[in-house]
């Protein structure tokens, strides 16, 4: 490993040294590429000089920089779905050129719009998928809610947890090993309604990138994936908006300039209303309900062509409640139970262009996740009144400051370097009870621990460079340190991605990443319960580490179709699992005693055939993989399949645009059944008298090993159709979606029970049968 680190550093130094020597008598074209209609910056737009095959791509903020020898050039600016622009440039000095691309409505076959483009063939990055919001919105939606996380589950190498869940299991990793970023801010609980919906409102999202491996050095802190969600910045040109009415939720968004071409905003919100619809059917004494809401807001202001400020805020909350009030004669009683949880994230970002080769992004972020339970009981009679209050709260809060630089020192080199500091506050489960009685003093008790504080720091440098027209690499180093409870942890993590063009349409790729993760998630389920608790590595519980190797190829020889194949091998160490039998309900007290640490291994093959352009778009994905775990004190030290181990996982995703008025989408998924622990036998214990166990059954269930049984295979077809109509002031869309079209009874839970004849049988619980939904959207 030390050899790998030394080699990476050496290559970085050599390329940096070599670069400036080559930079003489060269000039730089730089600027931003944006959507001419809205002013939104375009991510990964191509800036290309075709004569000598030299080019660059815009970064996350739409900035590009291309250095060429003095001369006259035709520079092509392109982005899928937009008209390409060719600029003739006489380059005899550095110039700044901002380019606004116009939406190309004339090219009918281009139907994937408004998003970023995969360029797997040319990019040195591997194991990365990009999703546009228009792709997500065109696919069938569960209960009418288009969902980013559920669309990501359709990608090879990504698996869902259980039925309906929006949790992600990437290349054998757990749900805690995904770094989910919303405008660069970590989101700790990305679920609503126990995982059936994700927190991302598609109206507010501009672009989604998923990294499954070959992690660039700028990312760190999680073992298995990075999900980078970027919010819309707001339309700089004119006011736009829209609203959607669905079966269980409604939403709206509005965006526009506060000062044209200078300051813009975006505001979107959604709320479910099952609680409001059900209220008329409930008794006056007792009300039960559940809802969630999200609000996304973003403001950006351009001080100059060099300087721009962004402020983005997300807040979302789930709330479940039960309220009971009763009065009789002179007495009254009330029982009120509330459970609520949610995230608040904020990012203040400043982009500054120091020169046409050096771009800076400085960010201050805040992220807070809280879970609370309040339970109030009151009783009054003529002589006395008493009350009991129970409160529980847990969560995690981060303050973070980050500075990142994109530097284009010479042609063919794109350096990124930066540093980040995060101050974590871990709020363990704290319970408070208060008993009041009019005839006695109040009794207040508090259970649970104090906050734990930790500092996490990292620095990185990476260079994306071409060694020759055929060979391109991204080499980097990510270093990190973590301080908690007077203990320091640190790591040096080399990262490497290499691409070799065999022919014009075949690329070979290889990647290696070492990752270290300082956070652990205490969770008892695969469905993302709000009680899941984030905790730091401690003196006893070490950080998780992984090494991942990937090898792949991309074939781009068929028009508009891209075929990719990747294999991966990943080892993980210092993973945690609950001791046998231990369960968890939101308290961190004594958690170190409740877990075992062990290791994991995952390997697999991923195939993907994707068509992004044309009237018919979509992809076919297939994954063969194996994931197992070994803990010295679990399963008697033997390896066992991880609960999300899935040998075969396939998806077919298709959308087709018939014309401007009608488009359809369909998805079909198939997966090997989840591994579960199912008792297969019943055995006799030592006689009860031998161990005072007289109150229990003398027979107990027996199973050979953990996760010894496979649930039935999972498959499901979803279908959706959109009817669009241009109205006087905007566009209206009716969406009809059907979840689980052929009403497949997929397994959610298995148990051994009795049938009507009294025979012992295996029984399956299915969660969702066929579920149709409809929504109405109006956009102006």
């Amino acid at each position: 490993m030390n050899k790998a680190i030394r080699l990476t550093l050496l290559l970085l130094c050599l390329t940096l040294y070599y670069g400036p020597l080559q930079a003489q008598n060269k000039y730089t074209i730089s600027g931003y590429v944006s959507d001419g209609g809205t002013g939104e910056k375009l991510i990964n737009a191509n800036v290309y000089e075709p004569a000598d095959y030299r080019g660059s791509a815009t970064n996350l903020y739409g900035f590009y920089s291309l250095t060429l020898p003095a001369g006259t050039y035709q520079i092509i600016y392109s982005y899928v779905g937009f008209k390409s622009q060719v600029k003739t440039i006489e380059l005899n000095a550095d110039i700044q050129l901002n380019v606004a691309l116009e939406y190309d409505s004339a090219i009918e076959e281009v139907t994937v719009l408004g998003g970023a483009v995969n360029n797997k063939l040319k990019d040195s990055q591997m194991s990365k998928e990009i999703l546009s919001v228009s792709t997500i919105k065109r696919l069938p939606a569960f209960m009418g809610e288009a969902d980013i996380m559920k669309t990501l589950q359709l990608m090879p190498g990504v698996q869902s947890g259980s039925e309906g869940s929006s949790g992600l299991y990437v290349r054998g990793g757990g749900p805690d090993q995904n770094l989910i970023l919303l405008d660069g801010v970590p989101v700790y609980n990305a679920n609503h309604l126990f995982g059936f919906f994700s927190v991302f409102n598609t109206d507010a999202v501009k672009n989604v990138s998923l990294y499954k491996g070959g992690f660039p050095a700028r990312f760190g802190g999680r073992l298995s994936s990075v999900i980078d969600v970027r919010m819309k910045e707001g339309n700089e040109k004119k006011i736009h908006g829209g609203a959607q009415l669905g079966l269980i939720s409604s939403r709206f968004f509005i965006e526009g300039p506060i000062k044209k071409d200078k300051t813009a905003f975006h505001l979107s919100a959604r709320r479910t209303y099952i609680d409001l619809l059900a209220r008329p059917f409930m008794s006056t004494e007792e009300t039960t309900g559940y809802f969630f809401y999200d609000i996304n807001a973003k403001l950006n202001h351009k001080f100059s062509d060099r300087s721009r400020l962004y402020l983005s805020v997300y807040t979302g909350r789930d709330k479940a409640y039960n309220e009971y009030d009763d009065e009789w004669e002179a007495n009254s009683s009330s029982y009120n139970d509330y459970m609520y949880w949610g995230n608040l994230t904020t990012a203040l970002r400043w982009n500054y262009m120091f020169s046409n080769k050096l771009f800076m992004n400085a960010t201050v972020t805040y992220s807070d996740y809280n879970f609370n339970v309040d339970s109030h009981y009151k009783e009054n009679d003529q002589t006395d009144s008493n009350a009991f209050i129970y409160e529980y709260s847990s969560g995690i809060m981060d303050w973070s400051a980050k500075v990142e630089f994109d530097w284009y020192p010479t042609p063919g080199h794109e350096l990124k370097f930066g540093a980040n500091y995060t101050y974590h506050t871990f709020k363990p489960g704290v319970e408070t009870t208060k008993e009041t009685d009019s005839t006695a003093d109040d009794i207040i008790k508090t259970f649970g621990g104090n906050n734990t504080y930790a500092s996490e720091m990292n620095m990185y440098i990476e260079d994306n460079f071409s060694l020759s027209p055929l060979l391109k690499a991204n080499l980097g180093i990510h270093t990190s340190a973590f301080y908690v409870e007077n203990t320091w942890y640190h790591s040096i993590e080399p990262r490497a991605s290499i691409r070799y063009l065999i022919t014009d349409d075949i690329t070979l790729k290889a990647a290696y990443s070492k990752m270290q993760q300082y956070l652990h998630l205490l969770s008892n389920s695969t469905i993302g319960l709000p009680t899941d608790l984030w905790l730091p590595a401690t003196k006893r519980i070490k950080p998780q580490v992984s090494d991942q190797y990937a090898l792949g190829a991309v074939y781009d020889g068929i028009k508009n179709v891209e075929l990719s194949a990747e294999t991966f091998y990943k080892t993980m160490d210092k993973l945690i699992e609950y001791k046998e039998g231990v369960s968890f309900f939101g308290s961190s007290v004594g958690w170190e005693d409740m877990v075992e640490t062990g290791r994991g291994e995952a390997y697999g093959l991923e195939l993907m055939l994707r068509k992004e352009v044309g009237k018919t778009t979509g992809w076919l994905g297939y994954t063969w993989s194996k994931t197992s775990r070994q803990f010295d004190k679990l399963n008697f030290g033997n390896w066992f399949p991880a609960r999300y181990d899935r040998r075969h996982d396939a998806s077919i995703v298709i959308s087709h645009k018939f014309n401007d008025r009608i488009d359809i989408g369909a998805t079909w998924v198939y997966g090997t059944g989840n591994a579960i622990t199912l008792p297969t036998h019943e055995i006799r214990l030592l006689p009860a008298a031998e161990h005072d166990r007289v109150w229990y059954e003398s027979n107990i269930p027996y199973f050979e090993h953990r996760n010894n049984y496979r649930m039935p295979d999972y498959h499901r077809l979803d279908f959706g159709i959109n009817f669009h109509k241009q109205k006087k002031r905007g566009m209206r869309t009716w969406n009809i979606s059907v979840y689980n079209v052929y009403n497949r009874q997929n397994p959610f839970f298995l148990y051994a029970g009795h049938n009507d004849e009294g025979n012992k049988v295996l029984k399956q619980i299915t969660l969702f049968p066929i579920l149709p939904s409809v929504s109405y959207t109006y956009k102006f």
Partner: protein
């Protein structure tokens, strides 16, 4: 409270779920032998041999009386044990627990000796061979160091001189009470006290953890009052505990030294019992040292300390 609220909300969310019978498609389910025996120094060897039921068999567990059960002591073959009919010895036993006949195997030529290794090898034409071994631990060197009466409780300090190496123990307390029968007759009854009657903050009786009474923990109760010597290996340890002694006229304190098999077996049994009804916990597999089958062959050695009337 938290758990109930959570489960209630989840239940509401899954009202649309449905249930159906499905076919089992796992590994072929074969029955296997289950051996259960606890060897105690000074007593005879008694072995219960049963057969597992698959989860689809809807009948009582069957005892096996026609197996070839061979006993080895310290590696030397001793004899093939004979099966005895359980109901001949205990005709009033609830026969619903057994299908038809019930057997046990007995070795009563000589009693169990501390330090000896006992091995059982069993063959049967219908099942895989099974085998297991246990080395009988020596008697714990323990004595009652102090007893104090406080607020109606008896506070005990029991000293245990631990031998170097891994050792495993169990505390049992037998209390005797005077009581009056329905007919008004005064009688005395003695019984082992449950763990609820024994209170302690001693870390060794709390899985070697310091227990803060004000903290909320979700950990199994130490029903069997098990402990190991992790905190006092090779030293003399003073174990502290209280029993509700208000009406206790006599109490017997028993420090039982267990072999590791029995310790792990008891420990996993109490964990299994505790977590049995937890919706989200991974099921606990009860420990077994039986090769080719299930159950336990364990051993122990009891040191009984009898107290006369403390008053």
């Amino acid at each position: 409270m938290l758990r109930n609220t959570l489960l209630l909300v989840m239940l509401l969310g899954t009202l649309s779920s449905c249930e159906k019978e499905i076919e089992y498609k796992g590994k072929e389910l074969n029955n296997f032998l289950v051996l259960n025996a606890k060897l105690t120094e000074g007593e005879t060897i008694r072995i219960e041999l049963t057969r597992s039921n698959t989860i689809f068999e809807n009948k009582a567990i069957k005892t096996i009386g026609d197996a070839d059960v061979q006993l080895f002591i310290d590696g030397e073959y001793v004899e093939t044990l004979q099966a005895y009919n359980f109901f001949k010895d205990a005709p009033n036993y609830n026969q619903e627990h057994y299908s038809g006949e019930a057997y046990y195997y007995l070795y009563n030529t000589e009693s169990v000796k501390a330090g000896s290794t006992y091995t059982i090898k069993i063959k049967h034409s219908d099942y895989n061979d099974i085998s297991a071994s246990t080395q009988v631990p020596s008697k714990a060197d323990a004595w009652i160091k102090n007893i104090e009466s406080e607020n109606g409780n008896l506070n005990y300090t029991v000293a245990i001189k631990d031998e170097p190496g891994k050792n495993f123990y169990r505390l049992r307390v037998k209390g005797c009470y005077d009581y009056q029968t329905i007919n008004g007759v005064n009688e005395t009854g003695c019984t082992y006290l449950g763990y609820h009657s024994v209170s302690t903050k001693d870390p060794v009786l709390s899985f070697n953890r310091i227990i803060d009474e004000d903290s909320f923990t979700d950990y199994p109760d130490n029903v069997y009052l098990l402990f190991d010597d992790e905190l006092f290996d090779g030293e003399t340890y003073e174990l502290k505990f209280s029993i509700r002694g208000e009406k206790t006229d006599d109490a017997d304190i028993e420090i039982i030294q267990l072999d590791e098999n029995l310790y792990r077996y008891y420990n996993t049994v109490q964990m299994r019992d505790y977590y049995e009804d937890y919706a989200f916990s991974e099921p606990v597999r009860v420990y077994s040292n039986i090769k080719g089958g299930a159950g336990v062959l364990g051993s122990n050695n009891s040191h009984l300390m009898t107290l006369e009337n403390h008053n």
